[in-house]
């Protein structure tokens, strides 16, 4: 069994982050359910966090500290973003009774 350091090279971490980002992007673009779209966006944010952490691991000194700190900010902002987004979804559902993004458009009518 290889050790962690040999098994997870920095490239592995970045590839995993890119895969996660791609998955999130696909979910956000392809799905019509607003909740799934939001989850896809969250996944993309987390992929970026993972990328930061990966770089923090492969760099030394203050660059590493910055790499650890940036995700903390992202997490805090993502929490606020999720709050606002979910509140908007709730309002939207009250108004239109659907979470389908293709259902209606206020501007087009």
């Amino acid at each position: 069994m290889p050790t962690d350091a040999a098994f997870f090279t920095p490239i592995h971490v970045q590839v995993l982050a890119a895969l996660l980002f791609g998955l999130g992007l696909t979910a956000a673009l392809a799905r019509r359910d607003l909740f799934i779209v939001l989850m896809g966006i969250e996944l993309m944010l987390n992929a970026v966090n993972l990328s930061f952490i990966g770089f923090a691991r492969s760099h030394a000194g203050s660059a590493s500290t910055l790499g650890q700190l940036a995700p903390l900010f992202t997490i805090a902002i993502a929490a606020a973003e999720a709050c606002v987004a979910l509140a908007m979804v709730v309002l939207l559902v009250r108004q239109q009774d659907t979470v389908d993004t293709d259902a209606r458009s206020a501007l087009k009518d």
Binding site: L25, A28, L29, A30, R32, V37, G61, S62, S64, T65, Q68, T101, D102, S105, L107, K108
Partner: protein, 673 residues
């Protein structure tokens, strides 16, 4: 015993909490719930074993002159580390934390036992016990933390448990609201705690209490002057955290609402232990506060204002638990007054005595509420002395102690606070305000006697206002509730002798043998207290203790007489069952002054901002510009633009992604290369 065993003290209640939580979850779908005898056994055993361990590890009270004190200190692991900074997870059992642990685990175990009787019939028995045990574990971590972050861990833990237990009966919207209110008020305080911790880190270079104390003690005048503003800021910000936890003005309004929780919760968390954490933290950072004298003056003034406000508010309450809650707010003000005058060990002594008599009073109130089947309106009680003798006994001794009549616990601690205030020296500008504060404190002591006697009179001494049927159905106090009541009644009576000792020479016991608190805290608190005294010398003590004892007793007796004379016939009118208990008129204005202030300063402006944004941005700007864009599009030929405007969120998102990718590609190709 080995210092490495310190972790067992918080771990035992934590283990009980985990098992009880698992039992509660595992039986969530059963009609009856988890096996109660097992839950009760575990729940009481956890804190009781912690209490036994505290006694076994009890650090000896070696004074500063007798060499190094025996202190247990154990570092277990590095909690987190960054470049140039590491935070070890350290637990400390020194004299200060040992004194706190003594009553936190001791009274905590008693209240757990009481809860077994009080909550037995509740469906959520296991869940309740799980939260209570978790609270014990968090409170122990708070007290034993060797650095600010470890204390903060416990600080947040007790806040969480307080929230969970205030809202224990969350089916009632008002109770859930009260829990949220407590949570939000404590968040405001926690922000202060964190800012203060960061400021301290930047000044002293460490978050470890020992290192902070060392820095404050060894820094010379030039360094202190240079760091002065930041030190004051740190002290004030941390005091804001203490205001949140200990319900001081301006963050006082949550504690009375917290009475929504079951009565054992009010006794344990919102009277005896958690709310005194603020006083504990100020004492823990005593070395910081004596080098930030302006901050200590703020502590004194806030304590003074809160004590007076709470005492007057306690006078107009109809709900028995609310009256006791405002009393707690007021007594906490007394503790902060003591700390504010530089008498940190006296503040801790009042924390210690208050834990006994306020727990006794709350548990007695719980026995009354239990006996009357959840009646809490004092106007509908009266004459309960023969019906609930054990509750009366505990309430009587608690009353004796809190009023400050001779030789009960509160008599000694209150007199010491008055003494230090009268002799003390806190500058506000050129004015020495400590003696003025002493005057307000004496007035507050008199008011305390009035409102506590009012409570006793309305509940026990005035004519009975229960109808015959209710009188026939008063539930007796079960054994699990009686035993803690009797022990705490005894504690209310004798806890004061832990400072003054007893004249037992005739029995061959040295006079100071029992007076352990007086010298006990010296290894931790003597250095800051002496430093404060050197900078702010006290006057001659002389016969002052006797004078204050005399005047204090006189004021207390007068207040008690007034309280009895005014309310001995009961209230002017007896309201019907379930009617509003919140005071109205000027009493309501006074009681809810801080709620109203928060409403006017924060709630209403936020709502106003929200409406302003809605009217200005949503309706005026976006509405008009949207309408204009629509008209423009129609005028330009809707047919062509409609192709672009697909009204498909996914398509828009795809365009955004493609645009972003194209932009990135341009940057990479032409700028970075």
């Amino acid at each position: 015993m080995d210092a490495q065993l310190l972790w067992l003290i918080p771990a035992l209640p934590l283990a009980a909490a985990l098992v009880n939580g698992a039992l509660a979850l595992g039986t969530a779908r059963d009609a009856y719930g988890a096996p109660r005898a097992l839950v009760a056994l575990l729940a009481v055993l956890g804190p009781a074993l912690s209490f036994a361990l505290t006694l076994a590890l009890w650090p000896s009270a070696g004074g500063p002159l007798e060499g190094l004190p025996e202190v247990y200190r154990a570092t277990y692991f590095t909690w987190f580390a960054g470049s140039g900074f590491a935070l070890p997870f350290t637990l400390v059992l020194d004299q200060l934390s040992a004194l706190m642990l003594l009553f936190v685990t001791g009274i905590g175990a008693l209240i757990h036992l009481y809860s077994v009787g009080y909550m037995w019939a509740d469906r959520g028995f296991a869940r309740f016990m799980c939260y209570m045990n978790l609270f014990m574990a968090a409170m122990i971590v708070l007290v034993m933390g060797g650095s600010l972050p470890v204390t903060f861990l416990g600080w947040e833990g007790v806040g969480l448990c307080s929230y969970l237990l205030i809202g224990f009966w969350h089916e009632r919207t008002a109770y859930a609201d009260a829990a949220r209110k407590a949570f939000v008020y404590n968040r405001v305080g926690d922000l202060g705690f964190l800012l203060g911790a960061f400021a301290l880190l930047s000044v002293a270079g460490s978050l470890d209490y020992a290192a902070i104390s060392q820095w404050c003690r060894s820094a010379d005048a030039a360094r202190l002057a240079e760091a002065g503003p930041l030190l004051s800021l740190a002290a004030l910000a941390i005091f804001l955290g203490c205001c949140g936890k200990s319900a001081q003005i301006p963050l006082a309004a949550w504690l009375p609402d917290a009475m929504a929780g079951p009565t054992p919760v009010s006794a344990l968390i919102h009277a005896a232990t958690m709310v005194t954490a603020g006083v504990f933290l100020v004492a823990r950072l005593a070395d910081l506060y004596v080098v930030a004298p302006q901050a200590l003056t703020v502590v004194l003034l806030v304590g003074c204002a809160t004590a007076l406000w709470g005492a007057i508010a306690g006078l107009v309450q109809h709900d028995i638990k609310k009256a006791l809650a405002y009393s707690t707010v007021s007594q906490l003000g007394f503790m902060f007054m003591a700390a504010g005058s530089g008498a940190f060990s006296v503040a801790l002594f009042h924390v210690f005595t208050h834990a006994f008599f306020k727990a006794a009073l709350f548990l007695a109130a719980g026995a009354v509420i239990h006996g009357l089947h959840h009646e809490q309106d004092m106007r509908r009680m009266g004459g309960l002395r023969p019906h609930l003798p054990i509750a009366y006994l505990a309430a009587f001794y608690g009353w004796w102690a809190i009023v400050g009549l001779p030789f009960a616990a509160g008599f000694f601690s209150k007199d010491l606070i008055l003494e230090h205030l009268w002799l003390g020296h806190n500058e506000l500008g050129a004015l020495n305000i400590a003696p003025l504060v002493a005057g307000v404190a004496l007035l507050t002591a008199g008011l305390t006697a009035v409102y506590m006697t009012r409570v006793m009179t309305l509940v026990f001494w005035s004519p009975c206002r229960l109808d015959a049927e209710a009188r026939a159905h008063i539930a007796p106090t079960p054994l699990t509730m009686s035993v803690p009541l009797l022990i705490l009644a005894l504690g209310s009576l004798v806890a004061g002798f832990a400072w003054v000792g007893l004249p037992l020479d005739a029995l061959g016991i040295p006079p100071d043998a029992l007076a352990f608190i007086k010298h006990y805290l010296a290894p931790v608190l003597a250095a800051p207290e002496q430093r404060w005294l050197a900078a702010h010398p006290h006057g001659e003590l002389g016969n002052l203790p006797w004078a204050i004892a005399g005047v204090g007793t006189l004021v207390a007796a007068l207040g008690a007489l007034i309280g009895y004379a005014v309310w001995r016939q009961g209230p002017a009118q007896v309201p019907s069952a379930g009617s509003e208990t919140a005071p109205s008129g000027w009493g309501g204005h006074w009681t809810f002054a801080w709620d109203r202030l928060a409403e006017w300063l924060i709630v209403k402006p936020v709502f106003a901002l929200g409406y302003a944004l809605y009217w200005v941005i949503e309706l005026a700007i976006l509405g008009i510009s949207g309408w204009l864009a629509m008209q423009a599009a129609r005028a330009l030929g809707a047919g062509y633009l409609a192709v672009v405007q697909r009204a498909r969120l996914r398509a828009n998102l795809l365009c955004a992604v493609l645009g972003g990718a194209a932009f990135l590609a341009v940057v990479i190709v032409f700028v970075v290369r």
